[in-house]
Amino acid sequence: MKLETRKIPESEPEMVEIRYHWITDEIQEIISFVKSRQGQLSAVRDGRRFEVPVPDLFYAESVDDRLFLYTATDSYEIRMKLYELEDLLKNKSFFRVSKSMIVNLMKITSVRPALNGRFSAVLKNGEEIIISRKYVPALKQILKGGESL
């Protein structure tokens, strides 16, 4: 694929143009990446493609090598690895709470202790997720305004 970049005057709007013959996986991946940078994630539900706004996301969970996005009421599948999504959503209030999950800190109502030194987070839609003990120190650091992971 040929890559072309061009410096433009500040008076012109910045844009990404993708010229394609067919929408292949590779093209779709590039589109998804660009959209995610604009605050949207391209995901699939019931065979249909949706643009999910990042602020609407509650959490993302990896199950059997597939990654799912969860909003207040719906779930979507996204073709991406969890660590890639985590990297993409860095500095957007998302935090890794376990080996297979990242959560939107803005969607947590409260945190309470669970078994064995772990904590659970109650989300704004009433769902409850487990925060693994090993991620608690980093969470404390972030909430205190420290560095993200």
Binding site: S110, P137, I142, L143, G145
Partner: protein, 155 residues
Amino acid sequence: MTKEKWRELLIRTLRLYTLLVTLITVLMIILGNLLDRDRVFSYDAFFSPLIYALIGTVATLITRSDKELSVRGLIIRKAISLLLIEGTIIFIALNADTIPADKNWVVPCLALGVFAVFVLSHLILYFIDRKEAEKLNADLARFQEKRMNGSPMNE
């Protein structure tokens, strides 16, 4: 494990150890008064709670896991940890001169006492975690407010 995680583990282990020393001392006072009131000890007896607490702490560390455990997995590990502690303490009781294991009810009372210390230590640690959760919630509220006002994540 990162430095921060080691620190967290060390704090939790020391917290558990100190808690166990206190609870075991109380247990020894209660059981001693009930079952073997007239016995006189040397200063060496002060080591007992420290050693028993060490056994409890090591048993907890052995059954500790970095993996994400299910609730069932956790309960199984806790049960193994309790059995390990009970077994070790009863073994010591049957072999040490300081514990009158030959007297009726001493070993069952000891086993029950160990169980009580196990449950109490978990309860106290739960309340400490609850306090920590309250602090996390206060920090979370501040974080969300800041983000709503447009502050970046890495300040």
